[in-house]
């Protein structure tokens, strides 16, 4: 695995990750996102529906949260989770947690972390974690990590412990990794912890970078854990400790505005779970990212740029899409850090429309005019409204197709913007033209 950076613009790294997969034949452009799955399937989709989409990410994310309970089955199967799930011709990345769901906290010990499957909690020691990797047979995975460092309710001491444990787990994982024949040629990403404590972030990054890892996972920055300003400040300082030539994958961040800010402080990769979350709340991504036209001339009108307070405070149904609540003091959000902050994962963002809204009942347009996805080529907003109102399973299928396509296209647009020095242009477009649908 090799990261070839073609240019760095305003802190953004444009390039390509090559030599992916066991035969090294795959590559992934950065900044980019991974394909989100649960138990090896993109939620709601069969392979036939998924492959109506072009330009899917070349790396698929598997999670131990959804696979650990099948360890015995995978061990007997012997050919790995990719083959088990009928996934062909894709690079497999295995993470510990499912980024779209939050696990209960308080189950981490010095020697174990826990994942939560359909049958409940499964405690993983390093040995079990590595046995799982051996059974899953990914092309890359991140080492076992203690990521319970949410600011607000976690002490500095706890954060330090998380960094220590995660480094210890990494050393143990690497040791076992090199002893495991089946994992030859598989890349390991080291996990950088440290919560919201800058010194701990720096220490974690510095120490992890000393280990023979293929790249880095930045953990504990997820949307639920902290405010965007704090996140970018911490990341900016953290990545200074990381080598330039290795990829940095940010866990748990998916909103387009957050993605843009994080790319500007040197993040390369994101997990692709955001379209799934949007789908689950019956919404469709509609934010603009085309930079062919001038954003100011495109008639988007003056709107406040999004900040953390763009998270709608009102219940989704009563909220007028695209209207930002300017009166809300930003401090509220910061104070909300901790378990209460969780909420925003299920709430609408300004980048989407709620198809359950009455206004779409007789809207015979596609979700996004000009979108080439299967849903937009074949169906109208009114039909999606009907499917959602009648709780039909096809709603999830069609929304997942569109949201995945839209999100992937956003990353493509981001790379094009970086390549052609039009990042500011794209940012304006994304941040100002939200949810005009």
């Amino acid at each position: 695995m090799k990261l070839e950076l073609s240019r760095v613009v305003q802190g953004c790294r444009l390039g390509v990750l090559t030599g992916l997969g066991r035969a090294g034949q795959h590559s992934l452009e950065v900044p980019g996102c991974l394909l989100y799955t649960r138990c090896g399937s993109v939620p709601h989709l069969t392979q036939d529906t998924l492959h109506t989409l072009k330009n899917l990410p070349s790396v698929t994310q598997l999670t131990l949260d959804t696979l650990a309970e099948h360890q015995e089955v995978l061990e007997e199967f012997k050919e790995g989770a990719g083959k088990f799930a009928g996934l062909h011709d894709t690079v497999l990345y295995c993470s510990l947690h499912d980024p779209a769901t939050s696990s209960p906290t308080g189950h981490i010990t010095n020697k174990t972390v826990s994942v939560w499957g359909s049958g409940g909690r499964i405690a993983l020691s390093v040995a079990k974690f590595m046995a799982l990797q051996k059974a899953v047979r990914p092309d890359l995975y991140h080492s076992m990590a203690d990521g319970e460092t949410w600011p607000g309710n976690v002490s500095r001491k706890r954060v330090r412990k998380s960094v220590d444990r995660t480094l210890a787990h990494l050393d143990e994982c690497l040791l076992l990794h090199h002893r495991t024949q089946e994992l030859a040629g598989v890349e390991v990403l080291g996990v950088v912890e440290g919560g919201d404590v800058l010194e701990e972030r720096v220490r974690s990054a510095r120490e992890t970078a000393k280990r023979p890892v293929g790249g880095f996972c930045l953990d504990g920055f997820h949307s639920a854990a902290m405010d965007q300003n704090l996140r970018t400040q911490l990341i900016a300082t953290t990545v200074k400790e990381l080598p330039e030539d290795k990829p940095r994958l940010l866990q748990g961040v998916g909103r387009p505005d957050h993605v843009l800010s994080c790319v500007e402080v040197g993040v390369d990769l994101f997990e692709g779970f955001f379209p799934f979350q949007v789908t689950e709340r019956g919404c469709a991504l509609i934010f603009a990212f085309d930079i062919a036209t001038d954003p100011e001339a495109a008639g988007t009108g003056p709107q406040a740029p999004p900040t953390a307070r763009c998270v709608p405070e009102a219940p989704v149904d009563s909220r007028i899409v695209g209207e930002l609540d300017d009166d809300k003091p930003e401090a509220d959000v910061v104070e909300n850090n901790g378990p209460g902050y969780q909420e925003d994962q299920t709430k609408m963002t300004p980048f989407e429309i709620n198809l359950k809204d009455k206004r779409y009942r007789d809207d015979f347009g596609p979700l996004v005019e000009g979108c080439g996805c299967y849903c937009c080529r074949n169906h109208q907003r009114a039909y999606l409204h009907h499917l959602l109102m009648t709780n039909e399973l096809l709603a999830g299928v069609l929304l997942m197709l569109h949201n995945t396509a839209h999100y992937c296209a956003f990353f493509t647009a981001l790379r094009v913007a970086l390549a052609s020095d039009r990042l500011e242009h794209l940012k304006k477009r994304v941040l100002m033209g939200q949810a005009r649908g």
Partner: protein, 414 residues
């Protein structure tokens, strides 16, 4: 003495209706082959959106969607006609909206044929507060509590808005376990309602209206209903009021009585039938079209249909089973996924249901294609024998009603 009078009346009605329906119905039935032994037949049924190869199983897409399957997937499975439910669609999103979307075809973007029911059956079975009068079926909307009357005219008006290729008349539905004067009343009323439906059809040039034979489990009433309804110049007939919990022995006798008296040149649709054995037996008895929610509903509970019965994929015994659902099945699910994977996926995602729904629809359609081919090849009786042998572990387990029914059309099972 009564007979000549009846015949006169018959002539009269026939003439007047033929005048009223001047347009040629948008349906053509070409009989390709008739089994020399049984009453089975293979036909090409040409409808406005495409030709349907019969015998055919029609999957049910109640609310304008096939349970998580895209229209392209359904099309790729070879589905040429599927169902929509008038009651559900009439409630949500309503006929006006669907008409604006260019009918149900436009609304769900389905390029093949659609059949819609009258809405009456759902109303009687789903809505508690329904009352049947000569006017129609009265019920309270479960959404806003408003009292609504579904008259024959109203049912056809909704189905005209939906734009289905085949519409069903509103019939007076009585549970097949009820007997006595109510059954006779319902039968006569269904005949009167048929005439009102024929008169109400605004699009006889684009939409076919099928009559529904009623009469409960009484041979006499069925025969009367058949005599009356076949006088009307409708493009097709359905056999209704069955498949509602009656004894199988009563069921097949009513089916075979109906096909004995239905005109050869018109399609025969047996409503609500979809179990594999029932399909095969009723094809032998002369039915062309079938529908049932069973294959798609059971899929959502993890039950996959196979030539030897069904597999409940969620059962622990499949957790490590590397085989596809049916090693001989060519559906997209069986070509890619093992029982073990489907078992695992069932714990985390709805896509598991979609995989089984696809397989089950494919199973039904493939079964009917094989039935059809055997009729065309002149070896349908052998097909039936092989089918039964595969479905049941031993001949002792053959259901006696199926053995009896098949015997009446000269198929003897070992």
């Amino acid at each position: 003495m009564a007979a000549p009078i009846l015949r006169e009346a018959e002539l009269d009605i026939g003439m007047s209706l033929k005048k009223a329906v001047s347009t040629v119905s948008p349906l053509a039935l070409r009989i390709l082959a008739e089994c020399p032994v049984t009453k089975a037949r293979a036909c090409d049924l040409t409808l406005p959106h495409c030709t349907v190869n019969t015998p055919v199983f029609m999957p049910v897409g109640t609310q304008g969607t096939m349970k998580g399957i895209t229209v392209d997937q359904l099309d790729e499975l070879g589905c040429q006609i599927c169902l929509g439910n008038t009651y559900h669609l009439g409630m949500r999103p309503g006929p006006e909206l669907i008409e604006k979307a260019n009918g149900l075809h436009g609304f769900m973007n389905w390029k093949r044929n659609l059949l819609t029911d009258s809405g009456g059956f759902q109303m009687v079975s789903l809505v508690e507060l329904s009352e049947v009068t000569e006017e129609g079926v009265k019920f309270k909307s479960p959404y806003d509590g408003k009292e609504i009357l579904l008259s024959p005219e109203q049912s056809i008006a909704i189905q005209n808005s939906l734009g289905s290729d085949i519409m069903m008349q509103l019939d007076d539905v009585v549970s097949s376990t009820v007997s006595g004067p109510r059954v006779e009343e319902a039968m006569w009323r269904s005949i009167r309602w048929l005439d009102r439906c024929i008169g109400a059809n605004k699009n006889p040039d684009r939409q076919n209206l099928f009559a529904i034979i009623q009469g409960g489990l009484s041979a006499e009433l069925r025969k009367t209903c058949l005599d009356e309804m076949t006088k009307r110049d409708v493009p097709g007939f359905a056999i209704g009021g069955l498949s509602g919990g009656e004894e199988k022995d009563d069921f097949w006798r009513m089916v075979t009585l109906s096909t004995d008296h239905l005109p050869r040149q018109k399609p025969r649709y047996l409503m609500g039938v979809g179990y594999a054995v029932d399909l095969v037996v009723c094809v032998a008895l002369g039915c062309d079209m079938f529908d049932c929610v069973f294959p798609t509903r059971t899929a959502r509970f993890g039950s996959a249909l196979v030539p030897w019965g069904s597999l409940t994929i969620t059962k622990k015994q499949f957790a490590k089973d590397p085989q596809p659902i049916d090693p001989d099945c060519q559906c997209p699910t069986c070509l890619r996924h093992s029982r073990a994977y489907l078992h695992a996926l069932f714990k985390s995602d709805t896509a598991a249901m979609h995989h089984i729904t696809i397989h089950n629809i494919s199973y039904q359609l493939t079964l009917m294609r094989s039935v059809r081919q055997s009729i065309i090849d002149g070896c349908f009786p052998d097909f039936v024998r092989t089918f039964m042998k595969r479905m049941f572990p031993s001949p002792e387990q053959y259901p006696s009603w199926a053995v009896d029914a098949l015997a009446t059309v000269s198929i003897t099972l070992e």
